[in-house]
Amino acid sequence: MAGKIRVVVAKPGLDGHDRGAKIIARALRDAGMEVIYTGLHQTPEQIVETAIQEDADAVGISILSGAHMTLVPRIVDLLKENDAEDVLVVVGGTIPADDAEELRSKHGVAAVFGPGAATGEIVDFLRGAVTAA
């Protein structure tokens, strides 16, 4: 693994809750990663386009609107369609346990971080998972 880890932090859908996304973006940057924050109200298409253009190692999707079971699989599918399935997908937000399990097992999401997750835990996870990939 050469160079900095590149992460796109993305807010899909209509959800305006951006406290978590901004904290994560800053924590990843402070940990030495290259962070691209998409800003709010992005479609899955826009997020995948950004991930590809930015040659991202990982996409961190922050979602608190309850639309995760529609939007996250769509992002994963679009990455595949664009031959970018090597981009690691990580999700954070208010995701019920059953949904988190389904996102991991059926949709290939690498990890789901819920409320209260420490930023250090997320940094460590990304370092480990991206280096391993």
């Binding site: 209509l14 609107s65 309850g66």
Partner: protein, 547 residues
């Protein structure tokens, strides 16, 4: 603090200084305001108090406060389609709730109908989906609008939802002048914190002033704006920022209305406020007291309001969603009770208590009932309602009130230097201040300088999963079919005419848009269609994100 030889200072140096302090944790408030270990008559800073119902209303807006009337217990509710939420409303009214409060789903907040491609997966998830008058009629079916007051948390499309509500009143035979309630309409805090916007700030402000102007004439019992700090705090601000930014927004609306040529005493009595109740108990109480004092002072001294009712800051409070944990969620009951108590001791006019399961999902009926019961216990069992502003005169609370007031005035100066609230939004001033504060707090938690029970201390590994509310995914399709069926049966000529008039009037700044919006609502034009018409004329807002 310099030694002046007074008793308190001597105590601080000689007695207190000789005793050890706990190390590691902070003694400042959650927001970072430094606290002395002790306040006495020698180091307290007591501002102007007045008596309850008396300028500057530090001790409360009404002379009798809760001995005259308890606060309104108003639980925010909304999910699925209008039918599901109507059922929840009736449930809450049956359990002793005294006012209604509507949560709308994301597409409604953003001005998209349920069948818009951008609404996919979001319909009815975080609130109720309302596309047209048809849905609004179902939402309030069997609820006499002449007898309840209704709060609606809607901002960019507030004018459309107010029109739908007024039309339901008309259908029920209640004159719209008799309808009571609150529409949030606070677009400025959307750009600052909540981020559910449609149009750029200038036309958005015009629409707000149109509503205020029209309501003062047609719906005098409505609060057309609820100037909200709640979302600013939830986005990660400090208490002082919540106070300062909310009041700055309030004064920006006042200035916009005065600029329109409205008499301040005509509209100011109908402005209302909405604050957060976070966990730092005394800081929250001080925040409400400072807010009342600042509002009264500037409304009288700066904006020349002569009617005492224009000086009153009346506010709704909601306990802090952001303070709830997904870990050991039952503990949230305790957090919420303490926050609610702060709101009551701070003199709130109405209150929403969060449910303990809300860090996980929308609340179940069981969780909502416990949240409502929390308020009932405070109101009827604790005795805190027996005496008005029981903490008034506390050396600490008065000093903290003065300190938060001072910090608010400092922020007002900084905002003025940037040219006012809208230029400051465009420069990302508020957004940066909030991001900075929220990052600092997260850092303090991760450094264990602040303890969050169940998250960074007293962790329990064998937690049983909680039963949570699941929104039936089929409801989205049901709502999509419903709006499409409604479009098929309405008079399309009337729809086109109403939309043409709305576009035309929107292009003329001197025309009030409420009448064309009312006509469009009556013609079953959807909220999304009305917003699209305005998007064509005004364009849309895009934020340059900062973190």
């Amino acid at each position: 603090m310099a030694t002046t030889g007074n008793h308190t200072d001597r105590w601080r140096e000689e007695l207190y200084g000789a005793s050890p302090e706990r190390q590691g944790e902070l003694f400042s408030t959650i927001s970072g305001v430094e606290n002395e270990p002790l306040y006495t008559e020698e180091n307290a800073e007591v501002g102007e108090l007045g008596l309850p119902g008396e300028y500057p209303f530090t001790r409360g807006v009404y002379p009798s406060m809760y001995r005259g009337r308890l606060w309104t217990m108003r639980q925010f509710a909304g999910f699925g389609t209008a039918a599901e939420t109507n059922e929840r409303f009736r449930y809450l009214l049956d359990h002793g709730q005294t006012g209604l409060s509507t949560a709308f789903d994301m597409p409604t907040l953003m001005g998209y109908d349920s069948d818009h491609p951008r609404s996919l997966g979001e319909v009815g998830r975080e609130g109720v989906a309302i596309d047209s008058l048809d849905d609004m009629l179902t939402l309030f079916d069997g609820i006499p609008l002449g007898e309840v007051s209704t709060s609606m948390t809607i901002n960019s499309p507030a004018a459309m939802l107010l029109a739908f509500y007024a039309c339901v009143g008309e259908r029920q035979g209640v004159p719209i002048s008799a309808l009571r309630g609150t529409v949030q309409t606070d677009i400025l805090k959307e750009y600052i914190a909540q981020k559910e916007w449609i149009f750029p700030p200038e036309p958005s402000m015009r629409l707000v002033v149109d509503m205020i102007e029209w309501c003062s004439r047609e719906m005098p019992l409505m609060h057309p704006v609820s100037i909200s700090g709640y979302h600013i705090r939830e986005a990660g601000s400090t208490a002082a920022q919540e106070l300062a930014f909310t009041l700055a927004d309030g004064f920006a609306y006042v200035e916009a209305c005065i600029e329109r040529g409205l008499d301040v005493d005509e509209f100011a009595p109908r402005l209302s406020f909405f604050f957060n109740a976070h966990l730092d108990f005394f800081e929250e109480i001080a925040k409400y007291r400072a807010a009342r004092r600042i509002w009264a002072t500037l409304m009288r001294e700066k904006y020349g309001a002569k009617n005492p009712r224009s000086w009153l800051m009346r506010f709704h409070t909601q306990t802090a969603g952001v303070s709830l944990t997904a870990q050991q969620p039952e503990v949230n009951l305790i957090r919420t009770a303490i926050e609610a108590l702060a709101a009551v001791l701070g003199g709130t006019q109405s209150l929403h208590t969060n449910s303990f399961d809300e860090a996980l999902a929308l609340p179940t009926e069981h969780a909502v009932r416990l949240a409502l019961r929390t308020q009932q216990v405070i109101a009827h069992e604790t005795g805190v309602v027996n005496t008005i502003d029981p903490l008034g005169g506390s050396y600490y609370v008065e000093t903290l009130t003065s300190e938060l007031e001072r910090q608010a005035y400092e922020y007002f100066e900084r905002i003025d230097k940037l040219g006012g609230v809208i230029p400051a939004i465009k420069e990302n001033f508020f957004q940066r201040e909030i991001a900075e504060a929220s990052f600092r707090y997260q850092h303090e938690v991760e450094q264990q300088q602040r303890v969050v029970v169940g998250v960074n201390r007293y962790i329990q590994d064998d937690e049983r999963p909680l039963e949570i509310l699941k929104i039936d995914a089929a409801l989205e399709q049901k709502q999509v079919e419903r709006v499409q069926a409604m479009r098929a049966r309405r008079d399309s000529t009337a729809v086109e005419a109403a939309l043409a008039r709305l576009r035309e009037d929107a292009a003329h700044e001197d025309r009030n848009l409420m009448e064309p919006i009312m006509d469009a609502a009556r013609a079953y034009v959807t909220m999304g269609e009305m917003c699209d018409a305005l998007r064509e004329v005004w364009g849309v807002w895009r934020e340059t994100p900062v973190f």
